[in-house]
C-alpha cells in the first residue's frame, strides 16, 4: 500500500513538473484526483483492509493528497508569474530620455526675494506690513522729518500728482502710519514699490522695490542695531558677514549710518565686486529721529528704535545675477520664465 502510494505520488510529481500551461495543470489535476484516478481507486480499495489498517491507510492517502494539492498550487503560481513577466517583456518600451516640458510658471524675482526676507523677519518676530504706493506729501516727507526745502529732497526726484499727492519715493513713507497703528514696542518690516523721477539705464529705474524695517522699544541702542544687522544680513546672504557703520545723513534718523557688509564674494579680501575694498555699501540705517517718533505718537524720551532700508531690487539682481535693472519691469518672459527654473 505504501509503495503504491509512493509510486502514485512520484508519478503525479513528475507530471506537474512537466506542465507549462495552466490548462495542462488542470488536466493533470483531473487525472490525479478524478473518480477514475489511482488515488480514488486506492480509497475505494480501503474497504478490503482490516479495521486496524484502515485508519492508517486513510491517513497516508490524505497526506499524499495534501502534498500533491500544494504542488499544484505552487506550480500554478509559478506559471502565472511567468505569464505576467512574459507579457511585460513583450510590451512597448518607452524612451525615458525624451525631453518633457516643465509646464510651470514663474514668480517674479522681487516676489521671491521679498518672501525669503519676510520669512527671515517673521522668524525674528517682525510684523509684515503692506503700504500704499500713492502717498501724501506729509507721510512721504514731513512725517519723516524732511521739511519742504530740505536739501534731502534733492536726492529724490519725486513724481507729483495733479492733486498734490505723490508716488512714494521711499518705503519710509509708511513709518508714521505703522507707528500710529501699533505704538511701541514695535517690530515691523514694510516692503514696497517706490518711484523716483529718473532717466532709465542699467542701474537706474524710476520704479523699484525697497524693504524697510523698524524696531522700537525701551533702550534700543546702536549696539543692538549692529548686532541685529549683522545677524539679519548673514541670514539673508546665508553667510557669516561682518558689518561696519559709517556716518550717513538721512533726515529720519539720528545718528544715521551707511552700513557696509564684508564682501560676500571674496570674504573681505578684496575683489572686483567690492572694488578691492573688502566692503560693500548695502543699506542706510540709524536710530529713529526723536521727531519722527514723536510725530508717530511715540514718546522719544521713553522709547528709542532703529530703522533700516534694504534695496530689494538690488538684492534680487545680486541673487539672480541680473545684469540690468530694467529687466525687472520689462515683463520679458525670456528672462522672467527662467525664474521658474525652466530652460
Amino acid at each position: 500500500m505504501e509503495e503504491k502510494l509512493n509510486s502514485i505520488r512520484q508519478n503525479i510529481e513528475e507530471k506537474i513538473k512537466s506542465c507549462v500551461t495552466l490548462e495542462e495543470i488542470e488536466n493533470v489535476k483531473v487525472e490525479a484526483f478524478g473518480k477514475k484516478s489511482e488515488l480514488s481507486n486506492l480509497s475505494k480499495d480501503m474497504g478490503s483492509l482490516s479495521a486496524e489498517e484502515r485508519p492508517k491507510a486513510g491517513k497516508l492517502i490524505n497526506e499524499v493528497r495534501q502534498y500533491v494539492e500544494k504542488l499544484f498550487a505552487e506550480k500554478k503560481t509559478e506559471i502565472e508569474d511567468l505569464t505576467i513577466q512574459n507579457i511585460m517583456k513583450s510590451a512597448k518600451k518607452y524612451d525615458m530620455t525624451v525631453p518633457v516640458s516643465c509646464e510651470c510658471g514663474s514668480l517674479h524675482p522681487i516676489t521671491k526675494v521679498q518672501r525669503e526676507l519676510e520669512e527671515i523677519f517673521k522668524s525674528m518676530g517682525f510684523t509684515v506690513e503692506d503700504g500704499r504706493e500713492v502717498e501724501t506729501e506729509y507721510n512721504n516727507f514731513e512725517a519723516v522729518n524732511v521739511s519742504k526745502y530740505h536739501p534731502a529732497r534733492d536726492m529724490q526726484d519725486t513724481y507729483w500728482l495733479e492733486n498734490g499727492e505723490l508716488l512714494k519715493t521711499h518705503t519710509s513713507a509708511s513709518q508714521n502710519k505703522i507707528m500710529r497703528k501699533y505704538g511701541a514696542p514695535l517690530k515691523a518690516i514694510f516692503p514696497g514699490r517706490c518711484f523716483r523721477n529718473e532717466e532709465l539705464d542699467a542701474s537706474h529705474e524710476n520704479t523699484f522695490f525697497q524693504l524697510e524695517g523698524m524696531m522700537i522699544d525701551r533702550d534700543i541702542s546702536v549696539a543692538n542695531l549692529i548686532y541685529f544687522m549683522k545677524n539679519m544680513l548673514s541670514e539673508v546672504f546665508k553667510k557669516e558677514l561682518n558689518v561696519r557703520l559709517r556716518p550717513g545723513f538721512f533726515p529720519f534718523v539720528e545718528p544715521g549710518f551707511e552700513l557696509d557688509v564684508s564682501c560676500m564674494y571674496c570674504g573681505g579680501k578684496g575683489c572686483k565686486v567690492c572694488k578691492q575694498g573688502g566692503w560693500i555699501e548695502l543699506c542706510p540705517c540709524g536710530l529713529i529721529h526723536p521727531k519722527v517718533l514723536e510725530m508717530g505718537g511715540i514718546d522719544p524720551e521713553e522709547y528709542t528704535g532703529f530703522a533700516f532700508g534694504l534695496g530689494l531690487s538690488r538684492l534680487a539682481m545680486m541673487k539672480y545675477g541680473i545684469s540690468d535693472l530694467r529687466i525687472l519691469n520689462s515683463g520679458d518672459l525670456r528672462y522672467l520664465k527662467q525664474l521658474g527654473g525652466e530652460e
Binding site: G125, L161, N163, V222, A223, N224, H289, P290
Partner: protein
C-alpha cells in the same frame, strides 16, 4: 570736495600719523571718501635748471636747441615751447627722471640729441597750463623742484552728498577740526588780522532791505594793491582742491572759501559807492561774470550798488563790477544769506556754483568777520603795500538762536549701548569745539555757532557726535530681549501669496511687474482705450503720465511684447490701481490681480475653461467659497471686454472681478491667430470675504446609486438654469450632481442642445431602496417638466 592734506597740516600736526589710516578713520567717523590721490607720486628727480642758450635750428620752426645748466653741467635739450628765453629758470626732467609716471630717457628730435625735457605746469601736474614752460624765480639751478613747490600732497575726495547736513565741513579748516578730534591732536588757531585797529577808519555804506533773506553782510575796503598774480604754492593748493587760478584777488576769495567754507565776493571798489541788499520787484536782466545774460525773476535776492544790481546774492557776481587783472582797489563782501532763498534761485536759474552749494547748507553767520580777518592777513602777507581804507562794516540783521543742550551720561549710554566714561564724552565734545560743563552726571553743552545753524539742536545729535568719534567699530554688538508679542500676518499678503503660488504652479503663469502708468502710445497702437485718470504732473514723457485704473492694459502691452517669441503667453500681476473720483481730492488706491491667458495653439474654449477653472480655484484656495458668473451688462465700460463672452465674477452678492474673451479689435491688433482670455480680480474685495472654514463630512457606509439624465434645452440656456432647478428641488437623498456632457449637433438637435447630468444618491442610514431612488428621480423630472424642460429620449 577735494581735501589737501598739506592744507590740513597747516592746522593739525600730523607728524607720525599714517595718512592713509587717518583718511580711513575720517571716512568711518565723519563723511564718505570717494577716492585718495597721491599727488607728485608720478614725478621724481625733476630739478630747477637755467636756460643759458637758445638756438634756432633749420630743420624745425618750432623746435629750439637749448643749452641748459643743471647746477653741475650743461645739457643739450631740444624744446618746442614758445616761451623759451635765455636766462630763464625752468623745471627740467633729466635722463632718469620720471614725469607722469614715464621714465625720461635720451631722445633724438629733428636729428639732435636731447638729454631730457623742460616742463610746463601741466606736465608737473600742478595746473592745466600747457601754453609754455613754467618759469621759476630766485632758485639755484640744481634744486629739486619738490623742495621749491608743494607738489607732493595727498588729496582725498569727500562725497558732497555726505556733507549735506554739515555746513562746517565745506572748508579745510572744518575738516582739520574733525581730523584733530579723530587723531586726538590739537587744532591750531587760525592766523588772522586784528581788525579792531581799523575801527577808526570810515565805514562803508551798506543797507539790507530784505532782512529775511540776508542775515548778515560784512565788508571792508582795501586799496593800493600792486600784486596781481598768486604765488605758485597757493595756486597748486587751489588746483588740487578743484579750483583754478585766475588772479590774486579772485584766487584769495576762492582760497578763503576752500579754507573756511565762507564764500566771499570781491568787487572793484572804484565801481561801488553804496551797497543795498534787496529782492527784485520785477524780472530783471543781468549779465553775470561768466558773460551770460540771465533773466532774474522777481523776488531774486541781489546785491545792488545804489539801485543797480551788481551780484546775484550768494550765487555769482556781475560782469559790471568784476575784478580785472589790473584792479588795485577792492570792496570785499563776506555775507550770509537764507539757504532756502539761495537754493530756490539757484534751481530757478539753473546756476549752481561753489558759493550757492555752500549757502544752501545753512552757513554760520559768525564766519563772515573771521573770513575777512583771514583774507586781510593773507593779502598783506603777499602784498605788503596794501592799505585797508575802511573799518569793518557789519550789518547783522538776523541771528540764529544760541543752542544749549543738557544731557545725561545715562541718556547717551542707553542709546549707544556701550558705557563710555563721562570724561571721554566730554573730551570728544570739546575736541569738536563744543563748550561743556559737567555737574555730576549731567553735561551742559553749548553748541558752537558753526554747528548750531541746523545740524546740532537736540540730544540725539550729541549722541551721534560722541559715538562717531568714539568709533562705531568700538561698539560691541549686543542682542536685545524684547517682550514676546504674537506676530499677526497681514491677511492681504497671505491672499496675494496664495494666488501667486496657485497661478505660477498650477496654471503655468509667469508673474510680471509693469509700470503703474499707462503707455499711452502703445495703448493706441493696440487700440486699447483707457479711461481718464489722475496724472503725474512731472513725468519724463507726457505719454507716461496717467496712472492705471485697471491692470489689463499694461498686461496686454506685455502680451504683445512676448507673443513674438512664444506660442503661449500666460502672465499675471498683482498691482495697485487708482480711482480719482473727485478732482483735487485724495485718490483711492486698490489692489487688483490681472491675468491673461493667450495661446496660438489652444482653442478659445480650452483657454476660457482654464481661466474659469483658475477663477474658481482662486476663490476656493483663498476663501473656500463658490463663485458665480453673471453676464456683464455694460461691456462698453472697457473696450477690451467681449460683448458676448464676458462675465462679472460674484461670490455671494459681492462682485470680485470679471472674466472676458479679449475683444476682437485688440486681439487682431496683437495677433489674429491668438486666443486670449483675460481676468481681473479685485483683491481687496476678495480679501474682505470671510474664510469658510473647511469641515470634513463623514463618508456614508452605504452604497451610492447614480443615474444620468439628458435634458434637451435651447442653445441659449445656460447650465446655471438647470443648476438652479436642481438646487431648488427638495430631494431626499441627493449627495451630488455633476455635468457629464453637453452635446450640440445642428443636424440631430437643430437649435437645441442636450445636457447630461449625473445624479448621485446616497443615505447615511441605510442602503437605498428602489422606491427611494425612483422617488428622487421622479421629483427631478417633475421639477424640470414644470420649467418646460424635458428629457431627451
Amino acid at each position: 570736495m577735494f581735501i589737501s592734506i598739506n592744507w590740513i597740516k597747516d592746522f593739525v600736526n600730523l607728524d607720525g600719523e599714517n595718512i592713509d589710516e587717518v583718511i580711513k578713520r575720517f571716512a568711518l567717523s565723519t563723511a564718505e571718501v570717494e577716492g585718495v590721490e597721491k599727488k607728485g607720486e608720478n614725478l621724481s628727480n625733476v630739478i630747477v635748471a637755467r636756460i643759458d642758450k637758445v638756438e634756432e635750428i633749420p630743420e624745425s620752426k618750432k623746435l629750439h636747441k637749448l643749452e641748459v645748466f643743471t647746477g653741475k653741467e650743461t645739457l643739450q635739450i631740444m624744446c618746442g615751447a614758445p616761451n623759451v628765453r635765455e636766462g630763464m629758470l625752468v623745471p627740467l626732467a633729466q635722463v632718469g627722471s620720471v614725469v607722469s609716471g614715464i621714465n625720461i630717457g635720451k631722445a633724438t628730435l629733428a636729428g639732435y640729441d636731447s638729454f631730457g625735457m623742460c616742463l610746463s605746469e601741466k606736465e608737473l601736474g600742478i595746473s592745466d597750463d600747457h601754453s609754455g614752460l613754467m618759469e621759476l624765480f630766485d632758485v639755484e639751478p640744481g634744486t629739486d623742484i619738490k623742495s621749491v613747490l608743494d607738489i607732493d600732497d595727498v588729496v582725498f575726495e569727500v562725497d558732497n552728498k555726505s556733507l549735506t547736513n554739515r555746513p562746517d565741513l565745506w572748508g579745510h579748516y572744518g575738516i582739520a577740526r574733525e581730523i584733530a578730534a579723530i587723531t586726538g591732536r590739537e587744532l591750531k588757531p587760525l592766523e588772522v588780522e586784528d581788525l579792531e585797529k581799523y575801527n577808526n577808519l570810515p565805514s562803508l555804506s551798506i543797507g539790507i532791505e530784505d532782512t529775511e533773506k540776508c542775515l548778515r553782510y560784512t565788508s571792508m575796503a582795501v586799496e593800493n594793491i600792486t600784486k596781481h598774480v598768486s604765488e605758485t604754492n597757493m595756486r597748486i593748493r587751489l588746483y588740487y582742491a578743484g579750483s583754478r587760478g585766475i588772479n590774486l584777488l579772485a584766487d584769495l576769495t576762492n582760497y578763503i572759501m576752500l579754507e573756511l567754507g565762507q564764500p566771499m565776493h570781491a568787487f572793484d571798489k572804484s565801481l561801488i559807492s553804496s551797497i543795498n541788499v534787496k529782492s527784485l520787484k520785477e524780472d530783471t536782466e543781468f549779465i553775470t561774470l561768466d558773460s551770460n545774460k540771465r533773466m532774474l525773476p522777481k523776488d531774486t535776492l541781489v546785491i545792488c550798488n545804489e539801485d543797480i544790481p551788481v551780484a546775484i546774492a550768494g550765487i555769482m557776481g556781475g560782469e559790471n563790477t568784476e575784478i580785472k587783472d589790473t584792479t588795485n582797489s577792492l570792496f570785499l563782501e563776506s555775507a550770509t544769506f537764507d539757504p532756502t532763498a539761495i537754493r530756490k534761485t539757484a534751481i530757478k536759474l539753473g546756476l549752481r556754483t561753489d558759493a550757492s552749494a555752500r549757502y544752501e547748507k545753512t552757513l554760520d553767520p559768525e564766519m563772515t568777520t573771521l573770513a575777512i580777518a583771514r583774507f586781510i592777513k593773507l593779502l598783506k602777507g603777499i602784498d605788503s603795500g596794501v592799505e585797508v581804507v575802511s573799518s569793518l562794516t557789519d550789518v547783522y540783521a538776523k541771528h540764529y538762536p544760541v543752542r544749549n543742550i543738557e544731557i545725561t551720561h545715562e541718556y547717551i549710554t542707553r542709546r549707544i549701548g556701550t558705557d563710555i566714561p563721562l570724561s571721554q564724552m566730554e573730551n570728544i565734545l570739546k575736541s569738536l569745539g563744543f563748550g561743556v560743563e559737567t555737574k555730576e552726571d549731567i553735561m551742559y553743552v553749548s553748541v558752537p555757532s558753526y554747528r548750531a545753524t541746523k545740524d546740532v539742536s537736540i540730544k540725539a545729535d550729541l549722541v551721534e557726535e560722541i559715538a562717531r568719534i568714539y568709533g562705531y567699530d568700538n561698539i560691541a554688538p549686543e542682542t536685545k530681549n524684547m517682550e514676546l508679542k504674537i506676530v499677526r500676518e497681514d491677511g492681504a499678503k497671505t491672499v496675494d501669496y496664495i494666488i501667486k503660488d496657485l497661478l505660477s504652479e498650477k496654471y503655468d503663469m509667469s508673474e510680471v511687474h509693469s509700470y503703474v502708468w499707462y503707455d499711452t502710445k502703445k495703448n493706441k497702437e493696440l487700440h486699447i482705450k483707457t479711461e481718464d485718470n489722475i496724472k503725474i504732473i512731472n513725468s519724463l514723457t507726457a505719454e507716461d503720465s496717467t496712472l492705471r485704473g485697471t491692470m489689463i492694459p499694461t498686461l496686454l502691452c506685455m502680451l504683445d511684447k512676448n507673443i513674438k517669441y512664444m506660442s503661449d503667453v500666460n502672465i499675471f500681476e498683482i498691482g495697485k490701481v487708482w480711482e480719482y473720483p473727485t478732482p483735487n481730492e485724495a485718490t483711492i488706491e486698490k489692489k487688483n490681480l490681472g491675468a491673461i491667458f493667450a495661446s496660438k495653439t489652444k482653442s478659445e474654449e480650452t483657454v476660457l475653461n482654464t481661466a474659469l477653472q483658475m477663477v474658481n480655484n482662486i476663490v476656493v484656495k483663498t476663501k473656500n467659497l463658490k463663485v458665480s458668473f453673471r453676464e456683464i451688462e455694460n461691456t462698453a465700460k472697457y473696450n477690451w471686454l467681449n460683448p458676448i463672452n464676458s462675465s462679472d465674477i460674484f461670490v455671494g452678492d459681492k462682485c470680485i472681478g470679471y472674466i472676458s474673451v479679449l475683444n476682437l479689435g485688440i486681439k487682431n491688433a496683437i495677433d489674429k491667430k491668438l486666443n486670449v482670455v483675460l481676468v481681473e480680480i479685485f483683491v481687496d474685495v476678495l480679501n474682505e470675504l470671510e474664510y469658510n472654514e473647511i469641515k470634513v463630512n463623514d463618508v456614508s457606509k452605504y452604497q451610492t446609486v447614480t443615474f444620468d439624465l439628458s435634458f434637451l434645452v435651447e442653445n441659449s440656456v445656460k447650465f446655471e438654469v438647470l443648476k438652479n432647478i436642481i438646487e431648488s428641488t427638495k430631494l431626499d437623498n441627493l449627495q451630488k450632481y455633476d455635468l457629464v456632457d453637453i452635446f450640440e449637433d445642428t443636424e440631430k438637435l437643430g437649435d437645441k442642445k442636450s445636457i447630461t447630468i449625473r445624479f448621485t444618491l446616497c443615505s447615511d442610514e441605510h442602503t437605498l431602496t428602489t422606491e427611494e431612488i425612483t422617488s428622487d428621480r421622479e421629483k427631478v423630472l417633475e421639477a424640470f417638466k414644470n420649467n418646460n424642460i424635458f428629457i431627451r429620449e
